[in-house]
Amino acid sequence: MVKRTDGTESPILAEDGGDGHDKPRLRYGELVILGYNGYLPQGDRGRRRSKFVLHKRTEASGVKRSKHYIVQSPQTSKAILDANQHSISYTLSRNQAVIVEYKEDTETDMFQVGRSSESPIDFVVMDTLPGDKKDAKVMQSTISRFACRILVNRCEPAKARIFAAGFDSSRNIFLGEKATKWQDNVEIDGLTTNGVLIMHPKGSFCGGNAKCGLWRECSVGGDVFSLRESRSAQQKGQPIYDECNILQDGTLIDLCGATLLWRSAEGLQHSPTKHDLEKLIDAINAGRPQCPVGLNTLVIPRKVNIGDQVNQPYVYLNCGHVQGHHDWGQDENTGARRCPMCLELGPVVTLCMGLEPAFYVDVGAPTYAFNPCGHMATEKTVKYWANVEIPHGTNGFQAVCPFCATPLDGATGYIKLIFQDNLD
């Protein structure tokens, strides 16, 4: 194989340089950030986007463990100083560190995820804010700059393994003195400060019959553990031997501040495309849903169109009736509204389509919506995500809408939509 000529070569060039003239590259899968409805609010740009497609590299980019040794001063060791040498340094004490060298692996491709905009990061992920707080400034990010890496077997793309921590611009990973680490008879391993958590769904993501699995933590060496007491507790969890770090379709990856969904190439073949979702919207609009108050035809927008008030549909969250904009039935104290169709009192929200196809567990009419944000999707999709617990804070969990990350409300977290059709 051809060695890299110098350390400044960007692994991204092969990705960004690709245009229509390249032959189609094999797709390993996709990483999609929960909380975005098809793109970032400010628009996808370069490596900072809501979704990252993992394509097979032209040349193998993976690395594998080579040798390890103890040094007194890791900063001056040969492996650390060599910008072409991948290595992980585990600081045990002020005067002792274990360095694990990594060598090139012709059988795997490596992809790295983190908050850093430096070139080793293939997918730049910033903290996700729920719902309409997307514009708020993040006080202090909790996502590691080099959060995790994924190594995909080039010959067996279904084997995509996730590891905590990523290599920096000098191809180094440092676990400081305070980081959780341990050494068994042979290998040394550790955890990142806030951890990389994974949750494999129980059952097949496609089809919508899977259940939420247990959240686990993945180590720097790729082993799987139960959760620590809290996000950055010193004591690691128990080893989980019957689970592993191979990503399956629908696996969730939580980086403390953002949650990613892994969709395998095979799973995506059974999922809707963006075009499919647009056809579903067209089908609903072709049925000419009506506002029973204004007697006007409602139009479900493909994008959230703040301007067009008259035709914008709203849903009453306690009953599911869909109507246009009007002022009747407003409770002056609570802001709740009484539904003209059934006189039920409750909140009202704008209806909009969930447009990120990766979040769909099946293909079909969007007859349900998340409560309280109003994102529409298929029944199975909505019910699936209403039962998925997403890490929240240092040790909590909550179900959220995947399209906007709003925590779900009400007994179920969703509502069945009731349209008035074809009244014209």
Partner: protein
């Protein structure tokens, strides 16, 4: 005059195009919010054979508030008084903007089939309806013949 809300235009068009059986509602030539209404007495009711004239007016904030509806033809009914005012929940606290002219008129027609003497507007009529229903029904039939049937 102010422009007519789209909903009223649409309702009026639909009333013209798809009439409700037994109900006729025509907008006034000079006031598109004022409707001349005819409701025929339901079969198998003491009002059968009668043709009852009503007036219906859509207030400024319709459909946020209910239409004003009144019988012009005299009618012997426990829920309709001598001035033609109608005691019907959907015209008052149970009004909803999802209701329409057609549904209101259908509700009034249904009220003729099912008088409710326990929620009266005409107390004397309601009283008789409770103590001597046969005589009350006979009175209703006589009033229908006298006031609601063209000779």
């Amino acid at each position: 005059m102010s422009s007519l809300p789209r909903r009223i235009i649409k309702e009026t068009q639909r009333l013209m195009q798809e009439p409700v059986p037994g109900i006729n509602a025509i907008p006034d030539e000079n006031n598109a919010r004022y409707f001349h209404v005819i409701v025929t007495g339901p079969n198998d009711s003491p009002f059968e054979g009668g043709v009852f004239k009503l007036e219906l007016f859509l207030p400024e904030d319709y459909p946020m508030s209910a239409p004003k509806v009144r019988f012009i033809t005299k009618i012997y009914h426990p829920n309709i008084d001598r001035l033609g005012r109608i005691c019907l929940d959907v015209l008052k606290d149970k009004w909803s903007p999802a209701l329409q002219i057609r549904t209101i008129l259908l509700s009034i027609q249904a009220l003729l089939s099912a008088p409710n003497p326990d929620d009266p507007l005409a107390n004397d009529v309601a009283e008789l309806w409770k103590v001597n229903e046969a005589e009350a029904i006979r009175n209703a039939r006589e009033w229908t013949q006298k006031y609601a049937v063209e000779d």
